[in-house]
């Protein structure tokens, strides 16, 4: 900037640092908590590390720890979350890109109707139709299954709209040159459109993965079998225990485990993610 105001800049840095600290604060406390015995939580929360190190994590992940005397399949839940998130992500990206392609590059009867139907789903987040959707899933025998966990969540409109917006910016001459070069619609899609969409796909991958991993209400509703629990759901079950000692260190450890994959994905793909998110809403 033109001016030099070192004091103000230092002030900015301090405020930003404080911001980071306060945002990170809960996670810090959680991490600390995982290293203490549960007895340490009788009166107050410790602020620094205890003696247990990463043993709590180890026990949880190797399924050796118990929780109120029932074994807790943390690894299984992690796996379920991963499968669910990946299936939702790949599924959503695939059908969205196909639909966007159809709507933008073809003229066919019913095109506007299809467009509006997809638009309509923006107004129907799952929270707004939980019971009837639950009934549909039950009737289709999809409870307690991966298909039930994933398919109803694949078809929302945001990805479709994002791809559509991007496709509309492809210069018309590129398409014409491809046609003259003898490329039909399928060739054009794979040879040209898809490679050009790489950034959008990367950004949407991040967004959808997080969306899928963090799903809560829906898995809660349709799974009663522990084998299908996701880790995000599992935390709630642990919190819901009312009698006995609340094993905070295990809860916090599970919380951190549940949090890590999406956070890692976001930080690793930060650039693509930011670009995609900001462009998506513009």
């Amino acid at each position: 900037m033109v001016q030099r105001r070192p004091l103000f800049r230092i002030f900015c840095h301090i405020v930003l640092m404080l911001g980071i600290v306060s945002i990170a604060f809960p996670v810090w406390i959680a991490l600390v908590a995982t290293t203490h015995e549960n007895t340490a939580f009788a009166t107050t929360t410790p602020l620094w590390f205890g003696d247990l190190g990463f043993s709590v994590f180890r026990d949880l992940l190797s399924n050796q720890s118990t929780f109120n005397n029932s074994s807790l399949p943390i690894s299984k839940m992690l796996l379920n979350s991963l499968v669910m998130a990946l299936v939702i992500t790949v599924g959503k990206l695939t059908i969205s890109i196909m639909s966007a392609y159809a709507v933008v590059f073809f003229r066919f009867p019913g095109r506007m109707l299809a467009f509006w139907m997809i638009f309509f789903t923006l107004m129907l987040p799952v929270e707004v139709r939980i019971i009837p959707t639950f009934e549909v899933v039950t009737n289709l025998n999809m409870l307690n299954s991966f298909s039930g966990l994933t398919i109803p969540l694949i078809a929302s409109a945001t990805a479709t709209f994002l791809f559509r917006q991007f496709f509309l910016t492809v210069p018309r001459e590129l398409i014409e040159a491809a046609r003259i070069d003898g490329a039909g619609p399928i060739r054009f899609f794979f040879d040209i459109l898809l490679p050009l969409s790489r950034t959008n796909i990367a950004a949407l991958f991040v967004i959808t993965f997080i969306y899928g991993w963090n799903q809560y209400l829906w898995p809660l509703l349709i799974t009663t079998d522990v084998q299908y629990y996701t880790i995000v759901m599992g935390i709630k079950q642990m919190l819901g225990v009312t009698d006995g000692v609340i094993e905070w260190n295990k809860i916090m450890a599970t919380t951190i485990i549940a949090m890590l994959p999406p956070v890692i994905v976001v930080i690793a793909m930060q650039k693509a993610f930011v670009k995609g998110l900001v462009d998506a809403e513009k």
Partner: protein, 368 residues
């Protein structure tokens, strides 16, 4: 080498706008045909219809006497060079040029041979592995041409390919295109709004206006004998001077001068008189016109004099003279021209009136 025939081609848009009106054009083998005209005249639309990128509302398009109206662009065996190059940004230059051949299932060895040969021809051999964004405008345009050449198509189509280049590059590329087309002998259709490109590149020049052909012919023929005031003022820079004049029993009355001649058949009344800037001669005596110099543009080799006639009517005109003529602003000049450099156009239809057959023009000049 192929022929191209357009019969009664019409383009009507759904909103009622008619871009092309029953156009007829024959293009010979190996000809370089240039479509020229102002924005909105339909030249690009016509090109795109030949390419198959726009539908032909009615009429027939034939390549080598085969009707191709309903063929996809990829099936017509044509290649196109776009104004914005239209290179595939994620592919290397080699792949850009190879793409069309790959789609036609040309064997790899053959593709390699063709691409390297064309790259050589266009001096692109060192750039084959690069991506388009690493290239300059001129290089990208050469790649676009290379992509077209490699296909060995029946027809080349050029859509204002030089418009995005800077002036100097434009001249270079213009020459290169001309040389290439001669060498390859492929029938070509070239669209431009730049009449210099049109004049220099065309074997056959087609002047378009509002979806109609105004004139077809060799560039110099069109220059010497424009068929209408539109063509007259579009081709040639600076544009031809057009004056209002009258045909009376005495002859053509213009600014107090008379060109008397046997005008049998010509109706009396107003006409448009056309004289190109370079055809004026500055004479001290026996001049037909007296003008005052208002502004001078020096181009180095030429001087452009922007003048006004000294009569009450005071029409504006441009005169081109040699670059080192000693003329100043405010000078009063006497002008005359050779009769064969006079053009006459009908005031209502704007079409050319031929006066060569009317012999023995007797020039009597009288002015105040």
């Amino acid at each position: 080498m192929s022929t191209l025939t357009l019969s009664n081609i019409t383009k009507l848009y759904p909103n009622g706008y008619q871009a092309i009106h029953e156009l007829n054009l024959d293009i010979e083998e190996g000809e370089m045909v240039v479509l020229v005209g102002p924005s909105g005249c339909g030249k690009s639309t016509l090109l795109r219809m030949i390419a198959g990128l726009e539908e032909i509302t009615s009429g027939e398009l034939q390549i080598d006497d085969h009707l191709v109206n309903h063929l996809e662009p990829g099936e017509r065996d044509i290649a196109m060079v776009f104004q914005n190059y239209a290179l595939y940004p994620h592919m290397s230059i080699y792949d850009n040029m190879a793409y069309g051949l790959r789609n036609r299932k040309t064997p790899k060895k053959e593709i390699h041979r063709l691409v390297t040969q064309v790259a050589d021809m266009l001096e692109l051999s060192e750039l084959l592995e690069r991506k388009p964004k690493q290239l300059s405008g001129g290089q990208k345009q050469r790649v676009a041409m290379g992509r077209a050449i490699v296909r060995e198509p029946k027809v080349f189509l050029f859509d204002e390919p030089l418009s995005n280049l800077d002036a100097k590059l434009r001249v270079q590329m213009r020459l290169q295109i001309k040389k290439l087309q001669r060498r390859l002998g492929t029938t070509s259709v070239y669209v431009t709004h730049d009449q210099v490109e049109a004049m220099t590149l065309a074997d056959k020049l087609v002047v378009l206006n509002k979806g109609n052909i105004e004139q077809v012919g060799r560039p110099l023929d069109i220059y010497d004998r424009p068929a209408s005031t539109f063509v007259a003022s579009f081709i040639g820079s600076p544009a031809m001077n057009l004056f209002d004049a009258n045909i009376t029993e005495k002859g053509i009355e213009f600014e107090h001068s008379f060109f008397t001649f046997n005008h049998g058949g010509l109706s009396l009344g107003r006409v448009k008189l056309g004289i190109r800037p370079e055809h004026f001669q500055i004479t001290a005596h026996n001049s037909w016109l007296k003008v005052e110099v208002e502004l001078i543009e020096s181009l180095g080799a030429d001087l452009l004099l922007y003048c006004k006639t000294t009569t009450k009517i005071s029409q504006n005109l441009v005169v081109r003279v040699e670059g080192h003529s000693k003329i100043n602003i405010g000078d009063i000049l006497g002008l005359s021209i050779k009769l064969e450099n006079l053009h006459l156009f009908d005031s209502n239809t704007s079409k050319r009136i031929n006066i060569e057959n009317n012999v023995q023009p007797i020039v009597k000049v009288a002015y105040a």
